[in-house]
C-alpha cells in the first residue's frame, strides 16, 4: 500500500515537472530574476516616496550612475576572462588630473577629450602589458598601479583642485540632449552598451572571451591569442575609464586627486550582480545593463528616503557578496531538482519492470 502511494507520488512528480520545470527554468534565469527585483524595487520606492516615479527625477538620477555603468561594460570583458582590474578609480583620477592641467594650459574642449581618452587607454595598456608580459597576477599588478596612478595625481595636485574649464566642456557631464529631457551621459551609456553588447554576443571576439573564461588553456591550444585579447581588454578598460573620467570632470568641473575613490568596488559589483561569473566564461550584456539601473535607482530611492551614504556603502558591499552567493545556491537547487527527477524516473522504470 505504502509502496503504491510512493509510486503515485513519483509519477506525479515527473508529470508535474514538465511545465513546472519550464517555469522554474525561466524564473531562475538571472536576468529575469534581476528584472523582477527591479520591478519590485520600483513598486516599493514609489509607494514610499511620491518623488520616485517622476520622469524628470528618474532622468536626473542617471547622472549619478552613468559613468560607473560605462566602466562596467569593459569590466565584463575582463571578468569574463577571469581577470580583474582594481586600478580603474585611480585611472579616473589620473585622467581628471591630465584634463584639468591641459585645460589650465588653455587646451580646447576637443583636445581635452582626446587627452582624457588617451591617458586612460595608455594606463590600461600598461596594466595589460605588465600582467601578460611578466605573467603576473592581475590583482597584484592593478593593486600596485592603483597606487601609482593615483599617486601621480596626488604628487602633482597635492591638495589643490583644477577648476578652470572651457564653457562648452560642461556639456558632456551636465546637459541634456537638446529639446529633450534625456541626459547626454545616458545616451552615451546606452550607445556604448549596444556596441559592447554586439561585440560580446555577435562577434568572434566575444566568443573568444567566453572560450578564454571557460578554460584559458583550452582556448590557447585552439589557437586563440589569449595574451592579445587580455591586453585589448585592459586597454578598453582604460579607454572607458578615460571616458568616465572626462564625463566626471565635466560634471563636477573640478579635478582633485581623491575623486572617484572606491568606484572600483561599485563597478565590479555591477558586473557581478549582472550575472557575470567571477570564475569566468558566463554572463550577458543584458544582465549588467539591468543591474546598473537596479543599483542606480536603488541608491536614488534610498537617497529619497534620506538614508545616509554609509548605509548605501554597506548595502552595495552586501549586494556584491549576495550576488556571488545566490547563483551558486540557485544552481544547487536546480541540480537537486534534476537529481530528484532522475531518481524518480529510475525508480518508476524499475517498478514497471
Amino acid at each position: 500500500m505504502a509502496e503504491q502511494r510512493d509510486l503515485v507520488a513519483k509519477t506525479r512528480l515527473i508529470q508535474e515537472t514538465g511545465w513546472r520545470n519550464a517555469l522554474i527554468e525561466l524564473f531562475t534565469k538571472w536576468e529575469v530574476l534581476l528584472g523582477i527585483i527591479f520591478v519590485l524595487m520600483v513598486v516599493f520606492f514609489s509607494n514610499l516616496s511620491p518623488y520616485f516615479l517622476d520622469y524628470f527625477n528618474l532622468m536626473n538620477a542617471t547622472f549619478q550612475f552613468s559613468e560607473k555603468a560605462i566602466m562596467a561594460l569593459p569590466m565584463i570583458f575582463i571578468i569574463m576572462c577571469g581577470d580583474i582590474d582594481i586600478s580603474i578609480a585611480s585611472i579616473i583620477a589620473l585622467c581628471a588630473y591630465a584634463v584639468g592641467t591641459a585645460s589650465a594650459a588653455g587646451v580646447g574642449t576637443p583636445g581635452l577629450i582626446a587627452i582624457g581618452l588617451a591617458v586612460g587607454a595608455a594606463a590600461g595598456l600598461v596594466n595589460g602589458l605588465l600582467i601578460t608580459g611578466f605573467n603576473m597576477p592581475a590583482i597584484a599588478v592593478t593593486l600596485a598601479t592603483q597606487s601609482i596612478y593615483r599617486g601621480i595625481a596626488q604628487a602633482a595636485l597635492e591638495e589643490r583642485a583644477m577648476t578652470k574649464y572651457p564653457a562648452e566642456f560642461g556639456f558632456f557631464g551636465q546637459e541634456f540632449i537638446p529639446g529633450t529631457m534625456i541626459p547626454f551621459e545616458l545616451v552615451l551609456y546606452i550607445g556604448l552598451a549596444v556596441i559592447m553588447g554586439f561585440v560580446l554576443h555577435k562577434t568572434s571576439y566575444g566568443r573568444r572571451l567566453y572560450a578564454i573564461g571557460s578554460s584559458p588553456e583550452a582556448a590557447r591550444f585552439s589557437g586563440i591569442k589569449v595574451k592579445k585579447i587580455r591586453i585589448t581588454n585592459y586597454m578598453l578598460m582604460g579607454l572607458f575609464s578615460g571616458i568616465a573620467g572626462v564625463l566626471l570632470t565635466s560634471r563636477i568641473l573640478s579635478a582633485r586627486s581623491n575623486i572617484a575613490t572606491s568606484w572600483d568596488l561599485e563597478v565590479i559589483t555591477l558586473v557581478v550582480l549582472g550575472g557575470v561569473s567571477i570564475n569566468g566564461g558566463k554572463g550577458t550584456m543584458w544582465g549588467v545593463v539591468i543591474a546598473s539601473f537596479l543599483v542606480g535607482y536603488l541608491k536614488f530611492g534610498m537617497g529619497l528616503l534620506k538614508l545616509s551614504g554609509t548605509i548605501m556603502t554597506i548595502v552595495i558591499g552586501t549586494l556584491l557578496i549576495i550576488a556571488v552567493l545566490l547563483p551558486r545556491l540557485l544552481d544547487g537547487y536546480k541540480n537537486t531538482r534534476k537529481m530528484r527527477r532522475q531518481q524518480a524516473e529510475a525508480a518508476l522504470q524499475s517498478a514497471k519492470a
Binding site: 559589483t269 567571477i278 556584491l320 556571488v324
Partner: protein, 343 residues
C-alpha cells in the same frame, strides 16, 4: 632539490658563491638593498641613524608588521584580504569608544575587545571564502565597504579624540620595558609566535601546502576548507589587535583611519618575497619588508619629496618587487626543468 642547491653553491670562486647564497635568500638581498638606499640618505642627513630616529621608525613599523603578518597568511594560502583597513578602523573605533564610555575598563580588555572583534570579522570573511566559495578578492572587496560602513554606524560619524580617552590607554604603547616600548614588545611577541606557528606546527605547514598546490594538499589529507577559514581568522585577529594599538598609538579613533592600509600590508609581503601565487614566503621576509617601507616613508622628507609622493613611491616599489619576484620564480622553474632534462 636541497642537494642540487648545495652543489651549486660549491661551484665558482668565493665571490660567486657568496653572491649565490645571498641572492638565494630574499631576507639577505633585502638587507643589502636596505643598506644601499641608506647610504645616500645618511650622507645627506646623518641624524637619520640617530637613536631617536631609529626608535621612531621601529615604533612606526610595529603596527605595520603585525598587519603585514596577517596579510601574509592570507596571501600564503593563495588569497588576498582587502578589508585590512576597515577591520582596523572598526576594532580601533570600538576600543576607543569603550575607553571613552567606561574609563575604568583596563587596557588589557580594550585590546581584547579589538582583537575579538577582528577575529569575528575575519571569521565572516573566512566563512564566505571557505564555505560560501566566494573568491577572496570579491569577499573582501565587499566586506571592506561593509566593515567601513559599520564603523560609521558605530561611531555615528563622530571621532574619539585624545582627551576623551584615558592616559592609561593612549600612554601604554610608549611605556618602556627593558628599554623597549610596549608597542615594539607586542610586535615582537606576534612575530615570534607566528614564526613558530608557520614553521613548526602542523596547521602552519598545511597553509603552505594549500597555497602551493591545493589539489595535491587535499589528496594527502589536508582539510582545505578549514585552512582557508583559519587564515582569515588569523588575519582578522591580527588586524583587530593592530586596530586597538592604532587607536592607542595615534591617540584618536577616526572613521577614515587606516584607509588604503591594505596596500602597505601587501607591499610589505611582496617586498618580503611572498609569492602571490601562494605557498612561498616567510615571516622574517615580511618583517624586513615592513622595515624597508618604514625606512622609505621616513626618508622621503630627507630627500626633499613631500609626503604626497608616498603613494606613488610605494606603488612603484611594489611593482618592482613583483617583477623581481616573478623573474626569480621563472628562473628557478627554468633551472629545475633544465636539471630534470640533464638527468
Amino acid at each position: 632539490m636541497g642537494e642540487i642547491q648545495m652543489k651549486n653553491t660549491r661551484d665558482g670562486n668565493f665571490l660567486q658563491r657568496v653572491s649565490k647564497v645571498l641572492l638565494a635568500r630574499r631576507e639577505a638581498s633585502l638587507v643589502i638593498l636596505l643598506a644601499v638606499i641608506l647610504v645616500p640618505i645618511v650622507v645627506r642627513s646623518p641624524q637619520f641613524l640617530s637613536f631617536t630616529n631609529i626608535d621612531r621608525i621601529i615604533n612606526d613599523i610595529s603596527i605595520l608588521s603585525i598587519v603585514a603578518i596577517g596579510e601574509f597568511f592570507v596571501i600564503l594560502s593563495n588569497g588576498i584580504d582587502l578589508s585590512v583597513g576597515s577591520i582596523i578602523a572598526f576594532s580601533g573605533m570600538a576600543s576607543g569608544m569603550l575607553n571613552e564610555a567606561y574609563p575604568q575598563v583596563p587596557v588589557f580588555f580594550l585590546l581584547l575587545l579589538g582583537t575579538g572583534l577582528g577575529a569575528v570579522m575575519g571569521a565572516v570573511n573566512g566563512a564566505l571564502v571557505a564555505y560560501g566559495k566566494i573568491p577572496p578578492i570579491i569577499t573582501t572587496l565587499g566586506t571592506m565597504s561593509v566593515y567601513r560602513g559599520l564603523t560609521f554606524v558605530l561611531s555615528k560619524g563622530t571621532w574619539v579624540t585624545a582627551h576623551e580617552m584615558t592616559p592609561n590607554f593612549i600612554g601604554f604603547p610608549r611605556q618602556s620595558f627593558l628599554g623597549i616600548s610596549a608597542l615594539i614588545w607586542m610586535a615582537l611577541i606576534v612575530i615570534v609566535v607566528t614564526y613558530y606557528f608557520s614553521r613548526f606546527t602542523r596547521s602552519g605547514r598545511e597553509i603552505y601546502a594549500i597555497g602551493g598546490n591545493a589539489t595535491a594538499a587535499k589528496f594527502v589529507g589536508v582539510n582545505e576548507k578549514r585552512i582557508r577559514f583559519m587564515v582569515f581568522v588569523i588575519s582578522g585577529t591580527l588586524f583587530g589587535f593592530a586596530g586597538s594599538l592604532w587607536t592607542a598609538r595615534y591617540a584618536s579613533a577616526v572613521n577614515e583611519m587606516a584607509t588604503g592600509f591594505e596596500m602597505q600590508a601587501v607591499a610589505a609581503c611582496v617586498l618580503g618575497g611572498v609569492n602571490f601565487a601562494g605557498g612561498a614566503g616567510a615571516i622574517p621576509g615580511v618583517v624586513l619588508g615592513a622595515l624597508f617601507l618604514g625606512v622609505l616613508n621616513n626618508a622621503l622628507p630627507v630627500v626633499y619629496l613631500s609626503t604626497f609622493y608616498q603613494t606613488l613611491v610605494q606603488g612603484m616599489i611594489v611593482l618592482l618587487a613583483l617583477v623581481i619576484n616573478t623573474m626569480v620564480d621563472q628562473r628557478k622553474t627554468r633551472k629545475l626543468l633544465e636539471q630534470r632534462r640533464a638527468r
